[in-house]
């Protein structure tokens, strides 16, 4: 009986000690969570500017694209999404301000309102062409310390801003607002001189690959590869001496046709 009593007392002491250690550790962890949350909130402030910038770029692209009805519709979709995201971000901000005045987490009503708004925003994201998804927001309520809820809110804010910016950037691509794609290649144009010195130009070229690209050699169409390079091939004249051919590149950019011409000299050798 005596031993049993001692064992029970020991167990109680150990449990109490562990519980105390745990509480202390939890307090420390919560204290460590606060500065990290603050850093993420600062990063989110910058991300909000990035989202606004993405929308502005889309608007500029639509204007450059002569405000075509389809492009305007895409811009309207992006603006709606931005407004929804802003509304959600404002709610998060209001809850953050309220939480900073207290030590306990969100109330059930506030959490429910947040979840409803997030669901509406996620639905809007899914309806976009192409659809995108939003991670399930993990804001816990009830007996959660305010510091932990603030961390959850910063995480949700990060998710919203990331998904918004990505969605607007994807929409930008559908209106052709993005600049022409390109690739960089190193080329050498050689001119073999008679005698002892070989001369060539070594150049880095930025080859543009617009969506509509047509090429011609002396007025005849030239096959163009997916890399934006046209392969010119013709039989040289039989008359020796200097000769030339005319290359023509035609593109349609922002609804306008533009033609670029190059005259290329070459030499027909003697037999």
């Amino acid at each position: 009986m005596k031993y049993f009593l001692l064992a029970a007392l020991g167990l109680l002491g150990a449990s109490g000690g562990s519980w105390y250690w745990q509480q202390r550790q939890e307090t420390r962890l919560l204290a460590a969570l606060a500065p990290l949350t603050q850093t993420l909130e600062t990063a989110n402030t910058h991300a909000r500017q990035t989202a606004i910038q993405a929308l502005k770029q889309l608007e500029e692209g639509v204007a450059k694209n002569r405000n075509q009805p389809r492009a305007l519709a895409v811009f309207a979709t992006a603006t709606r999404l931005h407004a929804q995201a802003n509304q959600l971000l404002d709610t998060l901000q209001a809850q953050r301000v309220a939480l900073r005045r207290t030590t306990v987490g969100l109330g059930a009503a506030a959490a429910q309102r947040l979840q409803q708004q997030t669901a509406t925003y996620a639905r809007a994201l899914r309806q976009l062409p192409p659809p995108s998804a939003l991670g399930r927001p993990a804001v816990r309520w009830g007996e959660v310390p305010a510091a932990a809820t603030l961390a959850d809110l910063a995480h949700v804010e990060h998710q919203i801003l990331t998904s918004e910016t990505q969605a607007i950037q994807r929409l930008s691509r559908t209106v052709g607002a993005r600049s022409i794609t390109y690739r960089l290649v190193a080329v050498a144009t050689a001119a073999v001189a008679p005698g002892a010195t070989y001369r060539a130009h070594l150049t880095l070229l930025k080859i543009l690959i617009p969506q509509s690209l047509r090429m011609y050699c002396n007025g005849q169409p030239v096959p163009v590869g997916p890399d934006g390079v046209g392969l010119v091939r013709f039989r040289a004249p039989r008359q020796p001496g200097p000769a030339s051919w005319v290359g023509m590149v035609r593109i349609n950019q922002n609804g306008r046709d533009t033609t670029f011409v190059v005259r290329v000299p070459y030499r027909v050798a003697r037999r």
Partner: protein
């Protein structure tokens, strides 16, 4: 007897209660540690984007400097910006090495061990490691403030969380998140500094680049009636995406002109006895660009013919 039984029952209930409270505490702590991992993942995703953005800023400064005909003032701004990028890279590499030492991947931090094993305990000289990191951060802070012409950098970079983790022996998930948080602060400071630098160069050129049709023939001389071949494309000139380029031909540096590129001039070796009339030869060209933070290199091997009786 009844009293002692009641006492025993109370004791047993208290023990069970304490055990239950402990279990709940453990679960709460696990959720709390998961939050550190989530925050770290979010911060690292931001850091990744910020790293890309700062590299783009320096590339843009380099490009404008090049298009602006390499003016001395612009070159100074570019050199300083490259220093900012290099020192930011050095500090963030240290922080990422710290994270990977803790078992966290460089860009995300899921699945860190949640048991309260102190990170600093795993280091041989934890005091020295802590002080070394603090000194590195302080040096970086003093350096970056020199570029803070608009006082945008806000609060100084803080290693307080690391010190707290060291003193209180906090779990690795906390230290990994602290490293991600500190990297975020460093990235924010370097972004503000580089933005100030970018404003100093501005875009002063009126006609910076243009689109042209270009053709690269397989050979500029062709036999009568033979097939002439060339590649035709639309190009932007000058290709200034990376600013100034360095070029070499067979290992020798070339003088690079803005639009024409580098002029290669190779002395062809004299004809050897018994050598055929036509000899195939090659030269190797290398173009190197500053792509920030790592350089980009293009290499090409150009074939040519050495003929005994060249055509006029």
């Amino acid at each position: 007897m009844t009293t002692s039984r009641s006492f025993l029952l109370t004791l047993l209930a208290s023990t069970l209660g304490a055990g239950y409270a402990y279990q709940r505490g453990q679960a709460r702590q696990a959720i709390l540690l998961a939050r550190f991992a989530t925050l770290a993942a979010d911060l690292m995703a931001n850091n990744q984007r910020a790293a890309q953005a700062t590299a783009n800023t320096v590339r843009s400064i380099s490009r404008i400097t090049y298009l602006n005909y390499q003016q001395a003032a612009d070159r100074t701004v570019l050199r300083q910006s490259e220093q900012v990028l290099a020192r930011t890279q050095s500090l963030t590499d240290t922080l990422r090495a710290l994270r990977s030492r803790l078992g966290a991947p460089s860009s995300q931090a899921p699945g860190l061990p949640s048991q309260p094993v102190g990170f600093f305990a795993s280091l041989k000289n934890r005091e020295a490691a802590n002080q070394q990191l603090a000194a590195h951060v302080a040096r970086y802070g003093n350096f970056i403030r020199r570029f803070d012409s608009y006082n945008e950098l806000g609060s100084p970079l803080s290693t307080a969380l690391f010190e707290q983790a060291y003193q209180q022996n906090l779990p690795p998930a906390v230290v990994a998140a602290a490293a991600a948080g500190l990297e975020a602060q460093v990235r924010q400071a370097s972004a503000a500094a580089l933005q100030n630098q970018a404003e100093k160069v501005g875009s002063k050129c009126f006609f910076c680049w243009r689109y042209v049709a270009r053709a690269v023939p397989a050979s500029t001389t062709v036999a009568p009636g033979a097939f002439y071949q060339a590649r035709l494309f639309l190009a932007e000139t000058p290709a200034a995406d990376y600013g100034a380029l360095t070029m070499t031909a067979n290992g020798r540096a070339l003088a690079v002109q803005r639009e024409a590129g580098g002029l290669v001039a190779l002395a062809v070796p004299p004809r050897q006895p018994g050598q055929p009339d036509t000899v195939r030869a090659t030269w190797r060209g290398v173009i190197r660009a500053h792509a920030y933070p790592a350089d980009t290199t293009w290499q090409l091997v150009v074939p040519y013919l050495i003929v005994q009786h060249p055509t006029p």
